[in-house]
């Protein structure tokens, strides 16, 4: 349970920092969409340098922000799961549902980010590059995490069934 305490503390800390970033993102979105400032600034989002701010890039920025907010929501759901673990309600229906939801949302976020950045590269930079990095791509990593959470949900479902069967063995 000590590990769970450390995990809870880290996730809580991450949650606080992400809340600050959410506020910053909302302000940034309003500023970009209303053309208040940042006219001469270049943005770098997920390694993509955004130099031109027009309606298409505004839309792409919006999609990227939605994708980011989805990840934050996943963090919120994960916090809920940890709370249930803390109360020793490990095989609760909420835990199963949250794991599955986190899985779907992470995959959705990865797809949204992937499509947006690829579209920007093709549409504005007119280049399709084949990059070979010896690090994990965030796109693939996010999809792997999503699938992992979905598998975890199914495993917890099986465990719940086994637990019930064990409890109903007289």
């Amino acid at each position: 349970m000590r590990k769970l305490k450390i995990l809870k503390a880290l996730v809580d800390l991450l949650w606080i920092f992400s809340m600050i970033s959410v506020v910053a993102i909302v302000v940034f979105t309003v500023v970009v969409f209303l053309d208040i400032g940042f006219a001469d600034l270049d943005f770098n989002i997920n390694g993509v340098q955004i130099e031109i701010i027009d309606n298409v890039t505004k839309f792409l920025l919006l999609v990227l922000m939605i994708s980011y907010l989805i990840v934050i929501y996943c963090l919120y759901l994960f916090r809920e799961v940890i709370k249930y673990f803390y109360l020793l309600k490990i095989f609760d229906e909420v835990v199963l549902k949250n794991f599955n939801k986190i899985g779907y949302l992470l995959i959705t976020s990865a797809i949204l980010t992937g499509i947006t950045t690829t579209f920007y590269k093709v549409y504005y930079m007119h280049k399709v590059t084949a990059a070979f990095n010896f690090t994990f791509s965030p796109f693939i990593l996010l999809i792997c995490f999503g699938l992992f959470f979905m598998v975890l949900s199914e495993i917890f479902g099986m465990s719940k069934k086994l637990k019930e069967e064990n409890e109903l063995t007289i």
């Binding site: 019930e164 069967e165 109903l168 063995t169 007289i170």
Partner: protein, 73 residues
């Protein structure tokens, strides 16, 4: 489930109360109630043995198989 537990019938024929049987075989009345109502998923051989010993019957007297699918509902 298509396995029917006839424990009620056996208890009635032996004129024994559930609580009495539960005490004799060493399980809780709540568990015996689960067994009687057919909600149990499985029964241990040791429990079955204890019931058979107390009620002086065979496992077949307590458990029966029914192929009726509606029993699942």
């Amino acid at each position: 489930m298509s396995i029917i537990v006839n424990l009620d019938v056996m208890l009635a024929t032996r004129k024994m109360k559930s609580i009495e049987l539960a005490e004799k075989i060493g399980i809780t009345t709540a568990n015996l109630s689960i067994l009687k109502s057919g909600k149990a998923k499985a029964i241990r051989f040791s429990t079955l043995e204890a019931i058979c010993k107390e009620l002086d019957c065979q496992p077949g007297d307590i458990l029966a198989f029914s192929s009726d699918e509606s029993a699942d509902i």
